[in-house]
Symmetry: C3
Subunit: 382 residues, 3 copies
C-alpha cells in the first residue's frame, strides 16, 4: 500500500492524474482497504481483532474487506441470530487460536485464519438437528474452529510448494470429520442425514422456472449456508462493495451451475434452494479476476471452471451421499486448485498468491506496471 | 533425434557400423518414429493432427508410434464401429483443446494430451446402457475429453516435482466423476452398475482352463475396453510393432495378473473377459523396459509390479464396487507411480521422464552412452 | 555417535563432567544405543539382522532400542505365540527384502524397514477368522511385508520434500488393501468384519469405570494389536526403558483418547479393549518429545494432538466401517504428519527427521548445543 501511495504521489505531479485521484478517494471503502491495517496497527487489541474477524467473514466469499464482512455478518444475523452467533464464535475462536499458537501475523491480520473456523461453526449449526439455541453446540464449534487453524497452517506448508492457497480445504476436512465423528444418531450432537442430489425419486412435480431463477442469487447466499433471499442479496451487495467484477462472476457462476444441475436432472429442491449453485459461484469467482488478471480469456476459463465445479459437485455429492455426508465446497476448492496448477495460456494471467488483491486492483496494478515499464523505456530513450 | 543421427553418421565411419545401419533402416517403422515429427513440421495442420492423434491412440498402451496407433484404431473399429467413433471423437476433442488452451506443443505433438480423452470416451461408451449409436453420448464424451486436458496439465505441474508422469490419472478421475455425476438411473445418460470381482456368488460352475488362457490376450485388449479376441490380438501386434519387448511384458503382465486373480478366487467372468489381466499388463509394461532400462533386475521388478497391480486392482474394485463404481486402471497407475518413486537398486535403472523412448531404444541409447564413455576414456589415454 | 563421544572426551577434562559420565554409563541400555551399531558392524550378518529386527519391533511404538524390541517381542509371544511368530516373520521378511532391493543401509540398520512389515503381519493375524496356526496366512503376511518396503521407499521419496517421515503409512495402506482384496468371505483367507465405534446399539449395559481405566494401559498394547493387560504393561515398560518421557506420553495420550471416546459415546467394548486409546497414544508420543524438543509448550501440543488423533480415529472408523474396514492408525499418522507441517510456535521446537533421537537425548543435545554456543562465545571473548 505504501508503495502504491508513493506511486500516486509521484503520478500526481503530472496533470493526467487528477481523475485517478478522484477515483481513488471514491474507492476508499472498496477493494482491500489495506490502509486500514496501518491505521489500526497501534490501536487496542480488541479493535484489531474486530477488523481481522470481519476480514475473515468476507474471506469466506473470496472478498477481503472488513466493511463487506460487517455487512455479511449483519445479513447472517438477520437470517438467523443463532447462526450469526455461531459464525461469530467460530471466527473469534479460530482467529484467537492463530494468535496464541504464533501464526504469521500478516496472515492473521488478513483474516486468513478466520474464515475456515466460521464456516465450520455455521455448518455445524445447519446440520444439527437439535434446533436453534442448543448451547452445547458451541463446544464442538469452538474445537472445530481451533482445529482449522492447525489444518490451515499444515496445509499451507504442504501446498506452498506449488504456490497454492490452503483455501477452504480445512473447513471441508473438519466438517466431514465432525459429521463422521458424531455419526447419524449421536446422543449429544445429532444431525440431519444428507440426501444426494441424484436421488430424483422426489422429482414428481413440474419444475417451476421462477423458483429456479430464485435459486441463482440464493446460490451466493449458500456460500454462507444461508437459504433466504433477502440476506443472500445483501451478501451479494457486500461482494459488490468489495469488487463489482467479483459479484458479477458470483451470479454468473451460480447461473452456470444451476444450468449444469438442470442438465443432470438433479433434485428440484436442490435447484430451488441454491445448493446447486454455490460451488459454481465459488469456482467462477476464483478464476474470473481474483487469482488471474481479468480478460476475456480468463472470463471464458471462469465459465469453464463454474461448469467443472458444478459437475464435480454433483458427482461428489452422489459419492458422499452414499455414506450420508454432504459434499460441502470440495468441488469448487478442488477445481480452483486445478485451475491454479494449469500451464498454458491461463498460467500467463496468474497472479502469485502473495500479491492477490481485489480484481479491479489486480487489473490496475498490472496496467500500472505495464505503464511503468513504458515510462521507463521512454526515459531511457531521452 | 538430431543428435542420434549425428552419432550414427560418426559411427558409420568405422567398419563395424554396417550391421547397425541395416538394423536402423529396418527399424524405420518401429520405435518412436521421431523423424516423422520433423517431416510433418511444415505440412497441413490436419495431417499433423492425424499423426498427433494416432500417437495418442498408441499412448494408451504406453506405445508412441503413429503406425501402432492406426492399427489399434482399426482394431477398435473392427470390434465395434460405435466404440471406434467414440474413441476418435475423444482423441480429437482433447488434442484440439490442448492446442486451443496453449499447452506445450511438444507434448501435444507427442500425443500426450490425447490418450486420456480417448479412454474417457471409450469407457463412457462401454458403461452406457443406452445402446450403440446413442448420439447424445457424444456430448459428455467431448466434455470429458476436454476436461482431461485441464487435469493432465494441472497434475503434470503437481507431479513434476518428483519427475512423475500424469499418466492416466486424468482418465481415471474423469470417468469416476462422470459415473458418479450421472448416477445409477440418470434419465439422460443411464449406465450399467459394476459388479465387484469379490462378489463370488456367481462362481457356481467349474473354472474352464481354456477360457482363462483366452483371458490373457484379452487382458491386453481390455486396456482399450475391448473384449474380443481378434482385435485384442491385433492390438498386441501393434504393440509388438512399436517394441517387441513391451508386447512380451504386456502378455506376461496379463498372465501374472490372471494368476493373482485365481489366487484370490475372483469371479470367473472377470478372469474370462480379461478384466483381471489388464492392470497387471499395464503395471508390467511400465516397469519392464519403458520407464526403466531393461535388465534381468527390472524384469523381476516388472513381475513384482504386475502382481502388485493385480492385487491392488482386486482390492480397489471391491472398495469402489460398494458404491457401484469400476476401479478402471487406478491400480496400475498408482503402482507404476510407486515404482517410479522407489529408491535403491531399481532407481539406478530409471530413465528421466523426458528421455523415455521405446524399450529397445532406451537400451541402445544406454549402451551407446556407455560405449561413448569408453571411447572418450580411450581417446584420453591416447 | 562418534562426534558425541568426542564431545564427551573433551568435556571430561573439565571437573564438572563427572556426574555426566556416571549418568552416561547408567544410560547404556536406554535411549538409542547407537554405539551398538558400531559394535556389530563387523559381526555375523545374522547377529546384525537380529539387532535390525529388534530395532524395527521397537520402532512400531516410536522407540529405537533393540533391548526394548526384545522385551516387546517377548510380551507378544507371551500374549499369543502365533501372533509372536507372525510378527517375527513379518519383520524378517521386510528387513531382508530391504537388504535385497538395495535400500539405504543406514535406514535398514535403524529398523526403519521392519516395523511396517511387522504390523501388517500382526494385523493379518488379528483380523483372520481362520484361527491360530493357520499356516497359509504366512503367505500373505510375507507378501504384505515385502510390499511395505516398496511403499516405504516410495512414500519416503514423496514426503521427503517436506522432511516428513513415511511413518506407518505403508502399513495402513497395505492392511486396507489386504482386507479389501480378500473381501468379507474369501474362501482362502476369511476375516472378521469390523464394527464401527459409532454403532452404539450394543451400549445397553452401564459403563464400568474400572474397565475404562483398564483400557488406558491396554491402549498402549493395542499399538501392537495386543489386548491383554500383562503384555501391555510389559510393552509400556519397554518404552520406559527407551525413554521414560515417551512412556508417560503414551499413557497420557491413551487416557486423553479414552476421554474423547467417552465424549462421543462410542461403543463400550471399544473403550474397554483399548482400541479407543491407541491412536491418541501414538499421536501424543510423536509430538511430546520425539519429533519436537520437550517443553511445556510441546507438552500442550502433544495433548492437542492426542485429542485430534482420537476424534479423527472415531470419524475415520465410522467412515471405513461402512465398508467393513478398520481405521487402523490412519488418524494418528495423519495427525502427526499435520503437526510436523505446522508453522508458528511449534515449528521452532521441531527436530529434523534425520536427527531424531530419544526424547531425553533430544533435550540433552539441544542443551549441549546451546551450552556449546555459550562456550564458543566465551572463548571468543578470551
Amino acid at each position: 500500500m505504501w508503495m502504491e501511495t508513493k506511486v500516486d504521489v509521484e503520478a500526481s505531479r503530472s496533470p493526467a492524474s487528477l481523475s485517478r485521484r478522484v477515483l481513488n478517494s471514491l474507492l476508499v471503502c472498496t477493494g482491500d482497504m489495506k490502509y486500514l491495517d496501518q491505521y489500526i496497527q497501534d490501536k487496542l487489541f480488541v479493535l484489531q481483532l474486530v477488523v481481522w474477524g470481519l476480514r475473515g467473514v468476507a474471506r469466506v466469499i473470496l472478498a477481503n474487506n472488513p466493511l463487506s464482512g460487517a455487512v455479511i455478518l449483519a445479513a447472517l444475523y438477520w437470517a438467523s441470530p443463532w447462526q450469526g452467533l455461531l459464525g461469530t464464535v467460530g471466527i473469534l475462536a479460530s482467529t484467537l487460536t492463530a494468535v496464541v499458537v504464533g501464526q504469521d501475523s500478516a496472515d492473521v491480520a488478513g483474516g486468513l485464519h478466520g474464515f475456515n473456523g466460521m464456516l465450520v461453526s455455521l455448518l455445524m449449526g445447519v446440520f444439527s438437528s437439535a434446533g436453534d439455541w442448543y448451547w452445547w453446540l458451541l463446544l464442538p464449534a469452538c474445537l472445530g474452529s481451533v482445529t482449522c487453524v492447525f489444518l490451515f497452517s499444515g496445509l499451507s506448508t504442504l501446498l506452498d510448494r506449488w504456490d497454492l492457497p490452503a483455501a477452504v480445504f480445512p473447513f471441508n476436512i473438519i466438517i466431514i470429520l465432525y459429521l463422521l465423528c458424531t455419526g447419524p444418531n449421536n446422543p449429544y450432537f445429532p444431525h440431519h442425514p444428507t440426501t444426494p442430489p441424484g436421488a430424483t425419486e422426489s422429482n414428481v412435480t413440474e419444475l417451476i422456472a421462477v423458483q429456479v431463477m430464485r435459486g441463482i442469487p440464493l446460490g451466493v447466499g449458500q456460500i454462507f449456508a444461508c437459504g433466504d433471499l433477502g440476506p443472500s442479496l445483501i451478501i451479494l451487495g457486500a461482494v459488490c462493495l468489495y469488487s463489482p467484477l467479483l459479484a458479477v462472476h458470483a451470479l454468473l457462476g451460480s447461473a452456470v451451475s444451476t444450468l449444469a444441475g438442470l442438465s443432470m436432472a438433479v433434485r428440484h429442491d436442490s435447484l430451488y434452494s441454491g445448493l446447486s449453485g454455490f460451488n459454481g459461484a465459488l469456482g467462477c469467482m476464483a478464476v474470473g479476476g481474483l487469482f488471474f488478471t481479468f480478460s476475456w480469456r480468463t472470463h471464458l476459463f471462469a465459465i469453464a471452471s463454474a461448469f467443472l465445479s458444478a459437475y464435480a459437485d454433483i458427482a461428489l455429492s452422489n459419492l458422499m451421499g452414499t455414506v450420508g455426508l454432504p459434499a460441502c465446497s470440495w468441488a469448487a476448492t478442488l477445481t480452483t486448485t486445478l485451475m491454479l496448477l494449469l500451464t498454458g495460456s491461463l498460467a500467463t494471467y496468474r497472479i502469485p498468491i502473495g500479491q492477490v488483491m481485489a480484481p479491479e486492483q489486480n487489473l490496475r496494478s498490472r496496467s500500472q506496471w505495464e505503464a511503468g515499464n513504458t515510462d521507463e523505456r521512454e526515459s531511457t530513450d531521452v
